[in-house]
Subunit: 462 residues, 2 copies
């Protein structure tokens, strides 16, 4: 149970007031996350509070519930004090009353009063844990299998509007999360060498995360097969000829996440071929970063990266033809099949549980159905206070190439012949986190984690 | 997705045959565990397969289902091959047919055939994850809130009977899990010193676990407040005057768990007071270990430890009066409020999801209602092939002592006056894992992890 609060009671109170001002009327339900059974009820995964609960209620433990009543302008916390019989297991605990004060809440009721306080028209968020589906179904008398359909659009909209814009206080924490994440990456970069197993590098990065009192913000990707985008196995041995791709970051006790990617040769020295592809990815990232400013659509940043990648591969003889046409039809997606990035905050894909389209798209921007572009998590205009990842990549995915080649798909834009010699290349992605500020962007993180080839080689030779 | 199998197809087939011979008739449902959302659907906790699924079906990934038909003597696996569109995310995957062969299953059907194959009288296990409650409710047309009540007693009994007895092959793996756990403990013992934060030692042990390709088998306890039994916070700084208590172990990729505890002074040198209490705990553990053999009730091992502890504390003037009477009424539980241990295997509390009373008690032994003894997870007779933890402890819990003192509870057995000077002592527990073998027991683990005071001090001074 956390008794440390990253923000003042005033901050939490102001957040709830802002929420009330946005929604204007109605009652809004906030459920704390429960413990989740690992292999039996009493053996649980590390506890993770729901991010919106953290944001508005600041309390980092299970079994508690919050209701914001916008009509009355009040907030109620439902929470029971620890029973003395539990003291031998949990140690002494502050009272719920005193904890509520820390987050600016005056009204604390017992949990037994909670269900009675929930009316059938209460607003709630779409559940992402099954236990919440069951609880909501029971309280609201709705079918457990379709409960998500009744989630409140008003509540979703209000929370996205508010949590998307990071305050100065939040940016300090996000900078800290990124700095620790950079420290993890720097250590892995220095330690990388042939003969190690991928999981030994995960062990090293884990140790650094934990030494800073943090945990992984998502299951890390640490692989010599970067061409497999979500590769969470870590059992390969590092070999000289491969590129190691490490995509990972830490989560602070306050919940804020870092998310960085680097990719470099296990050998410590880029071959010419590796250099050529790496420089294209790096250029694509810089091109996108240069565009970031309030008012710019993130879609444009993505497309600029896509263009850069297509043009770069043209220099290598891998692609051909008109770049505009090629990117428009999605020919680049054979090599760059994912989106440029996503918002980041209390969630590494910030607010994703409220619906990716609600977070990244709006009346102006709707999601494409095109392979590649359809995976772009955010297209809408950037605003001051947004924090986004910028993470283009180039991958040579043998199975996908074989599939497209069979169909001679986009053969006017792709030299399948030249591609043959890249089938064992792997994948490269470069990712940093940027806050949108007046007139441009600011990189998060205080560590200068190398990404220029010379700098990477220099760090790896230490 | 695991493509490594700890046992042969023959072994998995033999296990299912043994199960069929036990239950004789009926259909039995085995559900794989799903991924669990951390803070949104796509950000998941590390995957953990259900242990019974692992035991009978050996496949370590979600979205698959097994049915053992005892009437027909057949096993069916319901599993879909990976779609080519998923290949860019997951990489190439072996076919389900080929994976099923590895675990001796011939019949593989598509998942769409699964629901149709589930009749309302199918046997199933009590769900410990909410998503299984919802699935079972939907398939069987039963109320989601009371689905556990319909779980199959026959299936529970058969699985407990079978999984409780570890084969020679399983013991090799359990020995490996314990050996790695010992290595983690030895490193922490060597690194312990004042000024470190508890989480820095967790980081160290995590690193060693991961370097061996393993994970924590349960959330580790690493605390200078060992008197709080389930203390999962790691934010204290180690100080010279405290005892560090580390209770933790690793879980192999095959699922088998280790679970060890050591407690020693942060200073590296026991004070006389610490020595006196430590020797009692160590003696209580040895007394219990000496009793372990096939046919002995684990309850007797527990009570022997309780006696030893009560008698030992008498030497220190903390307890008084007749030991038999004191242990019978539970006066020792002020200091030793938990049970001696539990079975361990694929779960660190083995089979606990099937009901602790079903695992540890039977027609002969029923659970006590007495404080302390009621927390004993297992009382029944030991059998060859059982593996149990042996983990007595002595704790000075200020809140509990204050509560009992107020009531003058068991004042004929407890010198509350003498206890005053122990209120800041903390807690000590010593735990090892033992296999029950013909005529006695065998300690698991190949590392000589010290527990004698001289040996501990010697390792800590290195």
């Amino acid at each position: 149970m956390t008794t440390h609060f990253p923000f003042s009671a005033e901050t939490y109170r102001a957040r709830r007031t802002q929420f009330i001002n946005f929604v204007k009327s109605g009652k809004y339900l906030f459920l704390s996350n429960d413990e989740v059974a690992y292999n039996y009820t009493d053996n649980v995964f590390p506890y993770r509070q729901d991010s919106s609960f953290l944001y508005y209620f600041g309390l980092d433990f299970p079994g508690i519930y919050g209701i914001i009543d916008a009509d009355a302008g009040t907030t109620t916390l439902f929470a029971d004090d620890i029973d003395i019989n539990m003291v031998i297991w949990t140690g002494p605990m502050p009272s719920m009353k005193s904890l509520a004060e820390k987050v600016g809440i005056d009204m604390v009721l017992k949990v037994e009063a909670f269900e009675k306080s929930v009316s059938s028209d209460i607003h709630f968020l779409p559940p992402y844990r099954a236990v919440h589906s069951i609880l909501l179904s029971k309280m609201l008398g709705k079918d457990v299998h379709s409960i998500t359909e009744s989630a409140s659009k008003t509540m979703i909209k209000a929370i996205i509007a508010q949590r998307s814009i990071k305050s100065a206080e939040e940016l300090v924490l996000m900078n800290e999360a990124t700095t620790i994440s950079e420290t993890m990456h720097l250590a892995v970069m220095k330690a990388t060498k042939a003969g190690l197993k991928e999981y030994e590098l995960v062990a090293l990065a884990s140790k650094i995360a934990r030494e800073h009192g943090t945990v992984w913000s998502f299951p890390p990707i640490m692989t010599i097969n970067g061409q497999t985008l979500h590769n969470h196995g870590h059992h390969n041995e590092l070999t000289e000829d491969r590129i190691l791709l490490f995509d990972g970051g830490c989560e602070l006790p306050s919940g804020y996440a870092g998310d960085l990617t680097r990719a470099y040769p296990v050998s410590g020295k880029f071959t010419n071929k590796q250099k050529e592809v790496y420089e294209i990815v790096l250029g694509a990232q810089k091109t996108a970063i240069d565009l970031i400013k309030p008012g710019e659509a993130y879609l444009n940043c993505h497309l600029a990266s896509a263009h850069y990648i297509f043009d770069g591969l043209k220099q290598l003889g891998i692609t051909k033809g008109d770049s505009n046409e090629a990117v428009q039809v999605g020919a680049h997606a054979l090599f760059f099949p994912h989106g440029l990035g996503h918002m980041i905050g209390l969630d590494v894909h910030d607010l994703e549980n409220l619906g990716e389209d609600n977070v990244g798209y709006d009346e102006t921007f709707s999601r494409s159905k095109q392979f590649g572009l359809r995976s772009l998590r955010m297209a809408k205009k950037l605003e001051t206070g947004h924090v986004v990842t910028v993470e283009p990549g180039i991958y040579f995915i043998p199975e996908l190439i074989a599939l497209w080649k069979d169909e001679q798909k986009f053969s006017e834009f792709i030299n399948y012949q030249t591609l043959e010699s890249y089938l064992d290349f792997g994948g490269i992605r470069i990712e940093d986190d940027y806050a949108v500020v007046a007139g441009g962007s600011k990189k998060l993180g205080d560590v200068n984690l190398p990404k220029e080839i010379g700098d990477v080689e220099s760090v790896m030779s230490m």
